[in-house]
């Protein structure tokens, strides 16, 4: 049986050069499906990876109880001081608790080659943020000075928006503030932000309370101790989340939407490609009616004929998947964009991530299209009465 399948399949594949045009319909159609699907899913994966990679297990973010995000949260300074003294909070070498109350606001910045304003996060923090968020480091310029209206910009924001070079002025509050430095945070969501001194921002925005407090825990296991202490303190109405949990929750809906869009487009294109594959394989079977009938007359069974047609469709589909996957990888892997995260109303810069898993998904989709597209023509080829098919010559 295997020898029969091999023989018939080899003959089918060797005759492809004489049917290049129709065979290309499958290859190009499936390359398109796989390329677009992988690219869209890579966008979703990149977005989710950016937010999911934000934060550390041994850090916690504290917001007002019931707040979904920093924008809608308020933590008054007295409460921030209480929670900084809570058990489980780590201290620096000077014995000061590693906890920073931060302001979270939005400002308008245009993207490159555009004039429409986009919401970019302005985080009011302190120079100590580099100790708290140890993944953050300055890559250009210097840190803002305490009490001074100066800005350091995330490298992701700098890539996506115009006017964010060192020396440029960016509108924050009460006028434009000069940019003095550029920081990176390993590709996480903070790279889409601009950071300023919190006391300068308090003055400019006429606000006194923080939006959130981020604390460094002694270790990841201290989270429960810290959380219990905060949530059981009758003076505080605050909620505590591990940083990664918080940022992952902020990407969930948006990530699902992008992924859903990817699959929807893939399904629509896939249906088109499926009909293309059906048409091609019907044509392939029709042009080889006599060959197939001859083989069956010589004693080849129906099963090898069916399998050989399916294998041909699979080979063409996989070739399409390889081309589509390679194009998606070449053109989109690492490609940086920014989009509005409607859960935080702010722009998030992220890079497309074409992973091996996505390429495998593309292959599987291609195989399914190839199998379904090849099945009906294969069955038709196998069920055609031999005597009738021989007369097709």
């Amino acid at each position: 049986m295997i020898q029969q399948i091999y023989a018939v399949t080899a003959m089918n594949l060797r005759s492809i050069p004489s049917r290049l045009g129709t065979s290309a319909v499958i290859v190009i159609g499936i390359a398109g499906v796989v390329g677009v699907m992988v690219a869209l899913l890579a966008m979703g994966a990149g977005f989710q990876a950016t937010l999911a990679s934000t934060g550390e297990d041994d850090r916690a973010i504290v917001m007002r109880s019931g707040s979904l995000d920093e924008l809608s949260s308020v933590v008054i300074r007295e409460h921030a001081a209480i929670l900084a003294e809570a058990p489980g909070v780590a201290s620096n070498s000077a014995g000061e608790p590693l906890a920073i109350g931060e302001l979270f606001m939005l400002t308008n910045v245009a993207k490159h080659d555009a004039v429409e304003p986009n919401n970019v996060v302005v985080r009011g923090t302190t120079p100590q943020v580099l100790n708290l968020r140890h993944e953050a480091r300055l890559v250009e310029g210097r840190m803002f000075q305490p009490g001074v209206r100066e800005v350091v910009v995330g490298i992701g924001a700098q890539r996506q928006f115009s006017g964010l070079q060192i020396g440029d002025l960016v509108e924050v509050r009460e006028g434009a503030w000069p940019i003095v430095g550029v920081f990176e945070t390993g590709g996480d969501v903070h790279e889409s932000e601009i950071w300023v001194d919190r006391e300068a921002l308090v003055t400019a925005s006429r606000r006194s309370a923080w939006n959130s407090v981020t604390v460094q825990l002694e270790d990841a296991a201290s989270f429960t101790t810290f959380k219990d202490a905060i949530t059981s303190d009758p003076r505080l109405k605050l909620q505590v989340q591990r940083e990664p949990d918080y940022y992952a929750s902020r990407s969930e809906a948006m990530g699902q939407m992008i992924t859903g869009l990817g699959y929807t487009v893939a399904v629509i294109m896939g249906i088109g490609a499926l009909f293309g594959a059906l048409n091609t394989m019907y044509a392939a079977v029709a042009t080889r009616t006599v060959e197939i009938a001859t083989l069956r007359a010589l004693g080849f069974g129906s099963v090898p004929v069916v399998i050989s047609v399916l294998l041909e469709a699979l080979v063409l589909a996989l070739l399409g998947a390889l081309i589509g996957g390679a194009l998606a990888y070449l053109f989109f892997n690492g490609y940086s964009v920014s989009t509005l995260n409607f859960q935080t109303f702010s722009q998030v810069a992220f890079a497309f991530r074409v992973s091996g898993a996505l390429l495998v998904q593309g292959m599987i989709v291609a195989c399914l299209i190839g199998l379904v597209g090849g099945l009906f023509p294969a069955v038709r080829a196998a069920r055609m009465p031999v005597a009738d098919a021989l007369r097709a010559s």
């Binding site: 020898q3 029969q4 023989a7 003959m11 060797r14 005759s15 004489s18 006599v290 060959e291 001859t294 083989l295 069956r296 007359a297 010589l298 004693g299 080849f300 069974g301 129906s302 009465p385 031999v386 005597a387 021989l390 010559s393």
Partner: protein, 241 residues
């Protein structure tokens, strides 16, 4: 009329036996009868030509004898095998081992060389690659085309292509060769060469041959000629080979 052919059985010599064979096709609500209550015995080692006008049923009869189709009624026995009782898969396996086909348009596989075309039926056997190669060389030698083994069908003349097809039919050493208009696509002299080859296979190699033809000269190459008309055998004519 040949007694042995029409019903009276000679068991020892009979290779193909048809008893009460009918074949009809359904077209819409109508049954179209192609063969009707046909009885026929073909002796082992015979070379039988089937003639008749278009639509007389000769190709249908050839397909039934070759196991490509099944009768609507009646029995068909070839050697020990009851073809009318076999499933499609069983018929395919039987064809692979017991019958060789020669078609009017050769039906060679265009992407394969002559030797690979001849090897195709052997892929259904358990022969090793070396054994297959040896059988292929022998078959091509018998048809006089050993020097064209590596050529593709498109590089062969019509007569050479038909010789390759005959080598493919022979290579598995079947009892029966079924030839459907084997000279129908060839000029006279090439057709004569092919008919001579079939006579050699019949006379020297003992192959039983059933051949459908429109060409009276081709029929003259056979030992016996039967005529069909409207699904019935109407005449038999003995021709010495």
């Amino acid at each position: 009329m040949n007694k042995e052919r029409f019903g009276e059985i000679d068991v020892a010599e009979t290779l193909v036996r048809l008893e009460g064979v009918a074949k009809s096709y359904r077209r819409g609500n109508q049954d179209i009868a192609v063969l009707d209550a046909l009885n026929l015995n073909i002796e082992r080692g015979d070379f039988l030509a089937l003639m008749g006008p278009s639509g007389s049923g000769k190709s249908t009869l050839l397909n039934l004898v070759g196991g490509l189709d099944k009768p609507t009624r009646g029995s068909i026995t070839v050697g020990d095998a009851r073809l009318d009782q076999m499933s499609g898969g069983q018929l395919a396996r039987w064809r692979a081992h017991h019958v060789g086909f020669v078609f009017q348009f050769y039906n060679l596989l265009g992407v394969l060389s002559a030797e690979k075309n001849v090897e195709v039926p052997l892929l259904l056997t358990k022969l090793s690659k070396a054994q297959r190669r040896k059988h292929v060389a022998t078959a091509l030698d018998v048809v006089g085309l050993a020097d064209r083994a590596r050529h593709k069908p498109s590089e062969l003349s019509g007569g050479q292509a038909q010789r390759v097809a005959i080598a493919r039919a022979l290579v598995g050493d079947p009892d029966l060769l079924v030839c459907d208009e084997p000279t129908g696509d060839l000029d006279r002299s090439t057709a004569d060469e092919i008919l001579n080859l079939l006579q050699v296979l019949n006379r020297d190699h003992g192959k039983t041959i059933v051949m459908v033809t429109h060409d009276p000269k081709a029929a003259e190459a056979a030992r016996q000629t039967l005529h069909l008309d409207k699904g019935k055998l109407v005449e038999a004519q003995g021709v010495a080979a």
